[in-house]
Point group: C2
């Protein structure tokens, strides 16, 4: 790949001032995985490594205009969506995705702000299910998010994934980092890829610390590797390995969660092609 | 320096979706120079590598709250200020700087949006002169910005610098990249550091391309090196060398200006200590 050929990933996510998560984390992960990020904030937040004080949504009109301006200038090779703070921004995200047919759409369905604030409403989840999921190439929920998006809360994870894929979502990478309520954390973190043709599991040694931005890092790294032309399973492997390494090399600068080191080295992805 | 000891730079600047300039450029330069960036947007923009369509200021109240939340969590080792879109944000920046006595304050006085929009008003410039400059450890204007901040437009650059320092600004790094109106670009770019005790010049071979974000990169790199404990002249040298390298390794992804590669390698600053 020539120097002027870095694949460009369009990031639509919230801004986190701490740099651990959100738009800056996404951009850093994209750079760490060989791409270039162009970014449109979906919300501004007041937050630190300890808590989220407030979330201020941007307007859908701003998100739409900023993305259109970028699409006129850059060749977008993938779109990664993080925090969707309300229905106005969700409608903008849907419009942007529809204006970029054939461009891989990676959605990390952030349903709460990390500070316990619930950002989902029945109307938002319903619109996400009916209008966004049919456009999604891969959704990266944790188990709590999966249960809230699927319409079968009482059934098992596989039934929930199948229901989401029946709405048109092409694949689901279900992350297993977060234990469900009342569940003890096991020593292994298991992530599972579901597609109509393939199920695949990865196991990673659980790291003992808490990290700010691991989910953003994983989804953005996945977007960067899909933008680079990787196949889905290979991109999932690379993104998980990259993310695990950034956490393992993470550091403590604030008083709360540790921060991933997304630039600890430039990974040699050619060596891990599958 | 241990892994958990990266110096943290507080960035107060505008968000540029292209990633070439603004808040993301600042954060990337800080990372490229060995630090960690925490960031508060002062404005959102719609822009690309070709032009700036609009600038939407954040509220001073948001800037103040977000910075306070970061200061409660991180030990801030330097503050870098970029775009100040209006008097409300300027007052917030002044409050934040006053709340961090002894922390190096680096101000890149961005007076227009890059798209020709003038962001300065007489009231803004007057307040900047009277209330912000006395707090500034180093100001990094280009010659056009210097002339607009100084109250002696008809006089030479040295007189303008001296007047600015008489207001309490401790040092000025005057950048010479941009030719003044009607002036031909020379083959060398000359940057000049002025302090009460020292004047020093650096000359760099002029690169032929146009770059999006070179000024942000320089000021943020300077902030990161001051945050790491470098002396003023040494930090200026390192920041200029780093910036020149990022431009020399820059790439073309949009249709307008080239983008600096701020992560092209991790510079070994120890080798260039002065």
């Amino acid at each position: 790949m020539s120097h002027d050929d870095k694949p460009v990933v369009l990031i639509l996510s919230g801004h986190d001032p701490s740099g651990g998560a959100g738009l800056l984390a996404d951009a850093e992960a994209v750079r760490g995985c060989g791409g270039w990020a162009v970014t449109v904030p979906t919300a501004l937040t007041v937050q630190s490594t300890q808590d989220v004080e407030s979330v201020s949504p941007c307007t859908g009109e701003f998100v739409r205009r900023a993305a259109r301006h970028l699409c006129d200038d850059f060749t977008i090779a993938a779109i990664k969506v993080g925090l969707i703070p309300n229905i106005d921004v969700l409608n903008a995200v849907i419009d942007i995705a529809k204006a970029c047919p054939g461009v891989p759409l990676i959605v990390d369905p952030v349903m709460s702000s990390g500070g316990g604030t619930d950002l989902s409403t029945p109307h938002l989840v319903g619109t996400l299910r009916e209008r966004l999921l049919p456009l999604v190439d891969i959704l990266t929920p944790n188990r709590g998010e999966l249960a809230r998006i699927a319409a079968r809360p009482g059934e098992g994870e596989v039934a929930q994934v199948v229901e989401i894929m029946s709405l048109g979502c092409a694949a689901v990478l279900l992350t297993g980092t977060d234990p469900l309520e009342g569940e003890a954390a096991s020593s292994l973190v298991v992530h599972t890829l579901h597609t109509p043709d393939l199920n695949r599991q990865w196991q990673w040694p659980r790291l003992s610390a808490q990290y700010h931005g691991s989910g953003c890092t994983l989804a953005a790294a996945l977007a960067a590797r899909l933008a680079a032309g990787e196949g889905l399973a290979g991109a999932c492997t690379q993104a998980q390995r990259y993310t695990w390494d950034t956490l393992d090399h993470g550091f403590m600068l604030g008083r709360g969660q540790r921060l991933p080191d997304r630039l600890w080295r430039a990974p040699d992805f050619d060596a891990t092609l599958e």
